[in-house]
């Protein structure tokens, strides 16, 4: 009887295995160094390039001529080696991979810490550094320690003003920034059928904020119908009894909107305790909350009102943007005074397109609010899209429970 990680990796927790990656990807940031390391390795032949993706998202489009030059070299390289390549505007690597490329049971390795996001499909998805990605280009695989698993068991259903992001913040607060180091987190319980793929991707995305190697959801009917839209039909993964190192129970009915207070992801409080905190910028996007569902939710709360604070919306992918255009969501956002960015990471990593100034306070739907990350001497609260929308309308941190 095994955990989902043990089933996918086909070995009991604690074993060190060698495994071939079913898919491997890096982005413009880690890709540059991966290429350098690969050249240092003597430019070995690339093993199965069709399994490898290079996805430009971090500083896309380029912000300086140096960035442009590095991207140019990497773009030419990807093409020359017939790797799968997604250029600027395609979207955040994790989102792009989630649009039909990541499948249940696969081992997916990304040169980015949030690669755990794709565990939402019942895959074992984890992050590595650039040199290790270069080794995967050369050999197809790497070594892995099969992790112990922490279960987060969810029951009930979420109140209408509470989101999967609030669940993610709740477990980050409960576990702390190293509470799941080297562990996998499985999301299970009777609430799962009510959580769609967007919710699951958000939940798995933040696993790494607790130190986890990955977050996983069993592939079920929800996963199956999502993937069927991309023309893939999958068998479901039936959970079997297994031993968890630890179990955390969350009753979704009792959840309230939360914020992560700067500069830590695990300093989590009810939004109500920060009601009225003035903010300079709201940012909606990223691999955590830049999906169509998020944009639609934001727009539905704004409805015909104007935002009271500068608001930047960055769709997580071109497909998200396209859907928002077709449905009219984008029009609502623009008319409400929001600025729309190019699909990608946007200001998430503090490099461009919305960096905060010293002393400014932002509210973001991202996953990380470390010191100086999104602007030197600026502070960032993290919240759900619903909280971000209510706060954008009020110009200050606002509890959706009071507002909606």
């Amino acid at each position: 009887m095994a955990t989902l990680s043990e089933r996918i990796l086909n070995a009991p927790a604690g074993t060190c295995i060698d495994a071939q990656a079913d898919r491997a990807f890096c982005h413009d940031g880690t890709g540059v160094l991966t290429k350098v390391a690969w050249e240092e390795m003597g430019s070995p032949p690339i093993k199965q390039p069709f399994r490898i993706s290079i996805i430009f998202d971090h500083i896309a489009p380029a912000n300086t001529s140096l960035t442009a030059q590095l991207q140019h070299e990497l773009r030419e390289f990807a093409r020359a080696h017939t790797m799968h390549f997604s250029d600027i505007g395609g979207g955040v690597c994790h989102q792009v991979m989630s649009e039909g490329s990541a499948l249940p049971g696969e081992l997916i390795i990304g040169a980015d810490s949030h690669s755990c996001t794709l565990g939402a499909f019942g895959a074992f998805a984890t992050g590595v550094g650039a040199t290790e990605m270069a080794a995967i280009w050369a050999t197809g695989g790497t070594w892995l320690m099969v992790p112990e698993t922490i279960a987060i068991t969810m029951s009930g259903s979420l109140p209408s003003h509470v989101e999967a992001k609030d669940i993610a913040l709740a477990y980050c607060g409960r576990l702390g920034m190293d509470g799941a180091t080297y562990r996998a987190i499985e999301f299970i319980g009777d609430a799962m059928p009510k959580l769609d793929m967007a919710d699951r991707l958000t939940l798995c995305n933040m696993a790494v904020e607790t130190g986890a190697k990955t977050g996983l959801c069993y592939a079920d009917e929800v996963t199956g119908s999502y993937l069927a839209n991309y023309g893939t039909h999958i068998p479901v993964q039936e959970p079997e009894p297994c031993t968890y190192e630890k179990e955390i129970h969350l009753s979704l009915d009792e959840m309230v909107p939360l914020v992560a207070v700067p500069d830590r992801v695990d300093t989590v409080s009810p939004v109500s305790e920060y009601m009225g905190t003035p903010i300079d910028q709201v940012f909606v996007g990223t691999c955590t909350n830049g999906r169509y569902k998020d944009l639609e939710r934001f727009a539905s709360i704004l409805s015909d009102d104007m935002v009271m604070v500068r608001t930047i919306i960055v769709p997580a992918s071109r497909a998200v943007l396209s859907e928002a255009v077709q449905s009219g969501v984008l029009q609502t956002l623009i008319e409400a005074g929001c600025s729309i960015g190019v699909p990608g990471c946007g200001p998430c990593l503090g490099a461009h397109m919305g960096v905060l100034g010293p002393g400014e306070i932002g509210l973001s739907t991202a996953n990380r609010n470390f010191k100086n990350r999104m602007g030197v001497d600026a502070r960032y609260f993290l919240s759900s899209v619903t909280t971000a929308a209510c706060s954008a309308l009020a110009g200050e941190i606002t509890d959706p429970g009071e507002f909606l």
Binding site: C16, G29, T30, V32, L33, V36, A37, E40, M41, G42, P44, I59, T64, L66, T67, L70, A111, D112, S113, G127, V128, G129, A130, T131, E132, A134, A135, A138, T139, W143, M145, M177, D178, T181, Y182, G211, K213, R264, L349, G350, A351, R368, F370, K371, N372, R373, V376
Partner: protein
Amino acid sequence: MSSITGRGPAVCIGDDVDTDLIIAGRYLRTKDRSVFQEHVFEDLDPTLAARLQGAVLIAGKNLGCGSSREQAVVALQQAGVQAVVARSAARIFFRNCINRGLPVFIVPDLFCHEGNEIRFDTEKNELSIAGKEVRSLPLSARMNEILAAGGLVSYIRRETGR
């Protein structure tokens, strides 16, 4: 298998030092790895960089959490850090240390003062801190092989015969 040995004074930092604090994102857009050393720990304590040459970095729990950026490890190496000892380390940072050939020791009950002399030997699961022996968690055979090769680049060169 050859081991890596060394000794140096302890330079201590606290818990949860993330990779953004080791090297900030604003310095990453380059292939020139030598620029990182000037900016290492800039947002944590700008005086730290000058003290790292020949030192052993001593950290609390969850060292290197956050971004997968390998430049965090490269920056420490460029600044002259010989080895890293932590109560615990985030897993990608830990792997990056091994992959870049920076000896890393995990000592859950670590206790150390600034300037204490540290001696280390990657083949032994122990360290000497101010003359006192302490146990570190064992590395797997594979991790030791990669470290002994000087990192994953040389290891893969050897494996692929290049």
